[in-house]
Structures are given as C-alpha cells and as structure tokens.
Symmetry: C2
Subunit: 363 residues, 2 copies
C-alpha cells in the first residue's frame, strides 16, 4: 500500500473523518492551554515581524481550524500585552495529497472573518494549503516559528517491512496491526518503522523551523513498554474479530487479510523521549500523557455505543480498508464490528492514551 497516496481523511459524508472526529476534537480542547503556553514561551524574548505557523496533518472538518484559532489568539494576546504592532501571520495547512482541501478552503473565509472580528489590528494573515507527506520536506528552510500536529504522528509513512518470514509468508496472520497474538518480530518491525519515521520527522522540521521555535504535537501512545498490552490493542483485536467473521463467511479471503497491516504505531513515552534525545534538534519542554475513558468524550445517554464507536473508527480507517479489500466489504465489516463492540459494556472499555508534547528547536 502506497500510504502517501492512499491515506486521507474524508471531508464529507456519513462515514467521513470530518463528521466522525469528536475524539480528536476532544484532544484539541485539552491542548489549548498547552498551545497557549508554548506560544507564550516562544514569544517571551523576541517578537518577529512575520510568524510562520504550520498545522501538519490538518485533515478536513470542524477540527481543522480549532488549534489555529487558539494559536492566532495567543500570538495576538502576547503582542498586544507587550504593546507591539501585530505581526504578519503566515499559516500553512498541510495534509496528504488526497486530503479534501476543497472542504478546508471553503471554510477559510469564515475562519479569516472570525479572526478579524477578534483581532482588528491583525492586518496580514495569509493562509496556504501545502499538500504532501510530513515525512518529506514540505516548507522552505527557516520559515516556521510554530508547528502544530494533532493525531498525525501515529500514522507511519508505510506499512513496516519485516512482516513476512524468509519464505515471504505473513507473520501477522489474521491480525491487522500489532496484536496480543503477534509474534515478537511484528511489534519489532512496527517499532523500527516508527523510529525511522519519527526521527526523520524531527530532522525535516528542524530544517524548516527557526531556532527557538516550538513544536506542539499530540498523538496516540501506549502506557506500558509492552507493545502488545491488552489496553492498547483492544480496538485492533475487536476489528480482527470482525474480519475473522467475514473470513468464516467467505466474504474476505484469508490470505488477503493476512497481508493487510495498518501503517500505525502507538509508541510508549520512553520510545519517544529516546528518539528526540538521540536526534538532538529539539529539547523537550513538556511531555504529558492524557488518559481518557469513553465517558470523557462520548455523547451522554448513548444507546448503541458499538455503532457509534465503529463509525468513529471507520472515519479514519475506511479508505485503507477499501483500498486493500474493495468497497463491497466495508458495510458488513463495520456492522459486525459494531456488534462486537456492543458486547463490551461501556465500563469495561480500556482507557485511551494520547501524548501531548512541546518541543523547542535547539540553536
């Protein structure tokens, strides 16, 4: 699977990411104070005339502009407090080639209006869409002061190599991701790919950022050092169970399932810290785990929670599944997934973990 070309978050429709991103929106709400603090620290000593801000993995939907509104508000607040004339803002929205930028751009004018209502003195705010993988250079050297990325970095640049044995037979049989039953070489292959991707991400961004710039990142992580721990692999195991059902009914070919692995990894804190330290472009200013149970973000009085959760997952995963299996199977798959998820009482769902990081670009 050519992840760069396949993966994207759909901008419209029942099963689109745009309409099923409450979980990510919940993270963004929690990130606001962290973003504000990062901006404050960044602007504590100098006040650039022009500030470059990038949102990497902006997707499309109601969340796209949420962090930017916080960032712009924080920048203007600090400049006003210091009685400085407001800077020129250059905002770059990045996502993969297939992202629905048309939806994003249609929302630009009202974003700009809402900013201008609050910040009358902000004369120059320029917004551009920058398509491409953030595992490649996407912006000019020394052009960014603040980089934000929410729920992007647990996506790998590709499905890891090393998921087949020497004879070419799949090692992660019946599973779509790191799972409790995966042989140890599978999580190793995933970790190895994450290490390569995350280090590359840091290296590329360090070229694009000015010294003393800040990077505010949030992405899915796991609590324990064991990548197969039950709490983290819960949704994967349930999805694999839904796939197993379709295999048993002859709807999905077993070999096709064995060769499907999602390009996604949830690192633990130590893995992330080690990579940042080793790469040396950034120092860690803040590293915070957010643990959340479903009740933190599910709508209250939700009846059919399985259907709701399956729909949320579908928003992120559907394009890859369709690419590999064809679109005929997705309705049946997510129907079965709903059923399986419904069997687990809400109280028994594992918590989910996100990391929030603020990194400072070294001199």
């Amino acid at each position: 699977m050519d992840v760069e070309k396949v993966l994207h978050m759909k901008g419209e429709g029942t099963y689109s990411y745009a309409d099923n991103s409450e979980f990510q929106g919940n993270t963004l709400n929690k990130m606001n104070s962290i973003i504000e603090e990062a901006v404050m620290n960044m602007l504590s000593t100098n006040y650039p005339e022009s500030i470059g801000i990038a949102d990497l993995g902006c997707a499309s939907g109601p969340n796209t502009f949420s962090a930017l509104i916080t960032i712009v508000g924080a920048v203007c607040h600090i400049f006003r407090k210091e009685s400085k004339p407001l800077p020129e803002l250059r905002i770059y929205l990045n996502d993969l080639w297939g992202n629905d930028f048309n939806s994003v751009f249609k929302a630009f004018p009202s974003f700009l209006e809402s900013i201008r209502e609050k910040e009358e003195a902000l004369e120059s705010c320029f917004v551009a869409g920058v398509p491409g993988s953030f595992y490649q250079r996407i912006l000019p050297a020394n052009s960014l002061h603040l980089v934000h990325s929410s729920h992007g970095l647990h996506w790998l640049s590709k499905v890891p190599e090393g998921l087949n044995d020497k004879a070419g037979l799949p090692l992660n049989k019946g599973k779509t991701h790191v799972s409790q039953s995966s042989p140890s070489s599978v999580p190793q292959a995933y970790l190895h790919q994450f290490q390569k991707d995350f280090s590359l991400f840091l290296k590329l961004r360090s070229k694009e950022m000015v010294s003393d710039g800040r990077m505010v990142l949030s992405f899915a992580g796991r609590k324990t050092s064991d990548p197969c721990e039950k709490e983290d692999t819960f949704y994967t195991e349930q999805l694999s169970e839904a796939f197993a059902f379709l295999v048993s009914k002859g709807v999905v070919d077993e070999g096709k399932l064995d060769s499907f692995n999602m390009p996604r990894y949830h690192p633990c804190e130590d893995e992330v810290r080690e990579l940042i330290d080793r790469e040396q472009s950034f120092t860690i200013e803040r590293f915070e785990p957010f643990e959340r149970c479903l009740q933190d973000w599910l709508p209250p009085d939700i009846g059919d929670h399985g259907r709701y959760l399956a729909k949320v997952q579908r928003g992120g995963l559907e394009v890859m599944i369709i690419h590999h299996f064809g679109k005929e199977i997705v309705d049946d798959l997510f129907e079965k997934y709903s059923e399986i998820l419904n069997k687990v009482p809400l109280i028994d769902y594992p918590k989910r973990l996100d990391f929030a990081l603020v990194l400072r670009k070294s001199d």
Copy 2:
C-alpha cells in the same frame, strides 16, 4: 452575485473548464518565449537563494502546470549557465475559494517528478495552494520574484455598479455583457470597474513582490477604443440571442435576464497602459497583442464547430449562469447557442485578441 464565491473553473466533467481549455492552452504555448525572456531579464543581475513564484488564477486542468514548467526550466537554465547552485523555489498556486484545488493537488506529485527528472540538482521546490481573490492581498510582503497570471484579469471582482437607471431599472436589457446595443453608460460602468480592479491588482502585487521582480500577464483585450465594437462582442451577442430564444419560449424570465451581467471586461491597449502608468508600481517591459483566428487552435476537420465553441464557452461561464438562472436552463441554453454559432461559417468568425504583458516592479 458574489463573484468571489460563485466564479470558479470546474476541475472535472464534460463541461468543466479543465476539459475545455484548449484556447487558454494555446495562449500559454505562445507565452513560453515571453516567460523565458522575463525570467532571463529578472535574473540578469542577481541570483536569489530563494525565489518566490506565484500563478494567479491557476484554475485546474492540464494548463495549470504548463507555465510553471517553463518558469522552473528557465530559472534552472540561467543558474546553471552562470554556474550558480540552484535556488530554493517557492511556488504558490492561487485561485478563488471554489476552485477545484483537489484536482490541482492530485497533479502535484507528477509535476514535481517531471521537474526533478529534468533538474536533478533542484533540491528544494515547495508548492502551496493559496485560495482567495487576487483582488485582495494573498501573499506575504516582498515574497515574490515572479508573478504569472493567464486569462484571469479580464474577470472583474464584481458585476459593475451603475447598470441600472435612477429608478433601479436595468440599462443593459436583454444583454449579458457589453453589447453593440448597450447604452453608453453600460460600457462606462464596465470600464470604471476594470480601472478600479486592475489598479488594485497592481497595488496589491507591488506589496507582495520584491523590487525588480517581473509580472507576466495574459488576458483578453480588444483592438479598438470602442468597447462595443462588433469583433469583440461577437460571442456575447450570440449568447444573448440564445437567451432571447429561451425568453420567447417562456423558459427564462425576461426580468431575470435583464438583471444578469457578466463580471468580465476586455480592455483596449491604451486603457491598460494608462492604468499601469498612473499606478506607478510597475514599468512596462513588453506589451504584445496576440490576434488569433479559430483555425489557430480549433482541432482540424472539426464538423460541428458551433457545438465545440459552445462547450468551450460553457467551461468558463456555466457556474455563473447556473448561479443566476438555475441549472435547469443550461442544457437548453447551450444547445441553442451551438445552433446559433453553427450558422456562422468558420471563415466569418472574428479574430480574438489577447494581450501579453511583462511588467517590471519599480524600485
């Protein structure tokens, strides 16, 4: 009509701009040597490490990257000739909010690949989409060295004011644009709007461009000082005739037609020269009229030329017509338009005029 929100060139489909822009493509081919010369003049004295290039009104379709390939090739050629390391290129593609940027972005990777095949030493080429009207500021100050705009500037920012009399009754009855039968206040109102828009365009770009930068523009113009001359109003008159037919059949309401005027103006050379001289930000390096007859760009052995020409016109006009009249009328309208155009033998079609300009940003 809120032109900024309504006007856009469709990226896909039988009647899309993308599939009906042979005429504009033909202009672009003629522009190549002019672009190359402008780049050469711009780079005759200094060799910036980072070069900003904007294509304003990039639309979507096969033409979008055509001028950029010429520009990038010319820049690299000159740097190589002078044995300088190739610069960083920042490319900005601009069009209105409703433009199909998704189509443009899907074509990015192969554009970048084709550039990298030819220019291996070009390490940094960044491309961004910049949605918004070029009658507003869209890019940071002093960020551009070369601005290109093809077939954009004959579109006005809005339908001119002053197309109704004091009692609010429409002056340009039965016509969709400046026409031979328009009262003189109509072309005056159009000219006035063009003067405002073109001067504003120059002023805004001068803020975004570095001194000594070049602007390469092409847009539709007219030969004579009379804005109602037959040669220029030919297609408008024929379209009005098609509308008149729909009015006579009760398909289009007469009042609705009287209140429809297209936000488009074809200036003559003197009008353009005067505005550039008066605004003072740019000097004229080159001003060239391109006159073309149909045979220059129509496919050879075309049978049903009316249908072909109506389809080309539809690519550019359909969205505005649908916005004003509803989509029910467009098939009938362009069917009738085809018939009317077919009645004119190919040999009797007037020539069309485009201007090609190279402007140099003053110090």
